[in-house]
């Protein structure tokens, strides 16, 4: 179980780190003044600093409330059951992304839908295959044929002559 306190704290630290990374990146381009006005780094520098400061503020508030015994911060934001549900959705989705960049998006679509329907949703093979192949075929016809937009393809498409 993750309590709200930890979720808030970790997020605030992460956004603060983001702000500081921007500040550091902006410093490389100069934050001062030159012949063409403010240097390119100036605006990102101040915005990044603002993000870091606001994150620090959230962090301070969160820690302060925790010491003051704020009950809302003790509540769970993610219990075991929820984590399981999110994970069972997130992991196949990450798998889909990895397959997309290695095997191409059409192959990834088919494999991903087969996995989620057959092995997670426990549907029969016929329904699974019809949905998976139908979805991929729909996108192929709509994008490649109708809108003339190519999707990311992998090593498999040339094998079946597409």
């Amino acid at each position: 179980m993750i309590t709200r306190f930890w979720a808030e704290t970790v997020t605030a630290v992460a956004t603060m780190a983001f702000g500081l990374v921007i500040v550091k990146g902006a410093l490389e381009f100069g934050i001062g003044w030159d012949s063409s006005g403010p240097q390119p780094g100036a605006f990102p520098f101040y915005v990044g600093a603002l993000v870091a400061l606001a994150s620090l503020g959230t962090l301070g508030l969160t820690v302060g409330k925790q010491f003051a015994g704020d009950l809302a911060l003790r509540k769970s934001v993610l219990d075991h059951e929820q984590a399981r549900r999110v994970g069972s959705f997130l992991l196949p989705m990450a798998g889909f992304v990895i397959l997309s960049v290695t095997l191409g998006m059409y192959a990834a679509t088919i494999l991903y839908l087969v996995f989620t329907m057959r092995f997670q949703g426990r549907y029969g093979w016929p329904a699974t295959l019809v949905t998976a192949l139908g979805t991929a075929a729909f996108f192929y016809l709509a994008l490649e044929k109708f809108f003339q937009i190519g999707l990311l393809k992998g090593p498999l498409e040339p094998l079946i002559g597409l």
Partner: protein, 503 residues
Amino acid sequence: MENIANLMHGFSVALTTHHILLMFAGVLLGVLVGVLPGLGAPNGVSLLLPLTFSMDPVSAIILLTSLYWGALFGGSTTSILFNIPGEPSSVATTFDGHPMAKQGKATEALAFAFLSAGFGALAGVILITLLSGWVAKFALRFSSPEYFAVYFMTFASFIGLGGASPLKTIVSMGIGFTLAAVGMDSVSGNVRLTYDFDVLLAGVSFLIAVIGLFGIGELLLTMEEGLKFDGVAAKVRIGDVLTTAAKLPRYWVALLRSSLIGIWMGITPGGPTAASFMSYAMAKRSSRHPETFGKGDPEGVIAPETADHAAGSAAMLPMLALGIPGSATAAVMMGGLMIWGLNPGPTLFTDRPDFVWGLIASMYLGNVVAVIVVLATVPLFASILRIPFSIIGPVIVVICFIGAYTAASKEFDIWLALVFGLVGYVFKKLDYPIAPLVLAMVIGDKAEDAFRQSMIFSQGSLRIFWSNPLVATLMTIGLALLFMPLIGGLVRRLRGRGAPRTV
């Protein structure tokens, strides 16, 4: 009267078979997007945008705005029938809409929702017709400091009026601004903030952010809640619609009040969601029988729906006339305008009157089309939600990632969409507002340019923002909005603890 002539010209642009067909297509897609959880209006527009790159801008904007109207209607359908808001802005519709449906008055609830939504939208469009030319003319006097002041006002009102923690709003907005700054700097021509990653050279597209934050983030949240669709079956009969329509004039006070709230919240960047909640609360407070609210009072459907749609259409006014989007969806559309090579803002009215007035005319037609389409297809779309989420969810995932890739045909964007999805999930769980991030990404470069131009005029002195009455007024309003929470808190403390507000 000039506006009327312009509008007539607009109708001649919009009233072609091609455009009417696009309206139907857009509304149908929009209802679909609005009905499906995880896909909302900002998302739908982002997913469709890459397909419009090759279209003529007038056709493209008609398609996208029609999708927007459709999504707004679709969102209310699921609110009423399934108690699941398809859109954040239709949350308030569930309060009374679903109880009505459960009492066997689903048709009445739907008809009230659609008709009052149509009324609200028309109110918003009429306002745009009357005011947009005037606002644009006024805005032609703006130069960089005034523009920066208007941007400042927009973001200040998010911080001051947004309802979320001001610190979190600043974080969200700041992230948007910095992401907008990644890549080519339009003033100096330098490439900045890429940290030597080649993939960042072209910048971070707001489309990917919207797809990840709104689409994938929303899906993760939906999964976490273990959503069960438990709907009320609905058949829409024409007779029932007509009897409901005949009852509508009885609620004219609610209609007018809600339209005004919606228009106000649409022009100021409060957005449709805030508008619908505020309108619901106002209706309840001013009702003679507030105890019926939440148990199926028709006014509890009419008030949020009217305001929601009035805000949705009114949000197009600042986008067209000033180049400032009033909602996340308007922000995405404005990004689209820039991609099509148009320059949103007052000059658009003189440069491309056919575009502006064609769009405004299409808003009248599109909403009429939307009401008809949505009444005719509700049973069909309601049946989509009977497909188990374990099938629909992954299909939506595929749509989102394919949409992310088609935005620029970059492999990196697929990864980026996943990252934005996780960020969106965490931000939503911890009440970080997401709309400011998207708005900042779209207008970030313009705001920065306006600021830098002003600094060049003034040789680096901030006093330029108080150098004439116009810019000084804008900046002062901005500062007032920014410190509204602090002032409000002080006033409350001075008066002692007042009665707690109930919504």
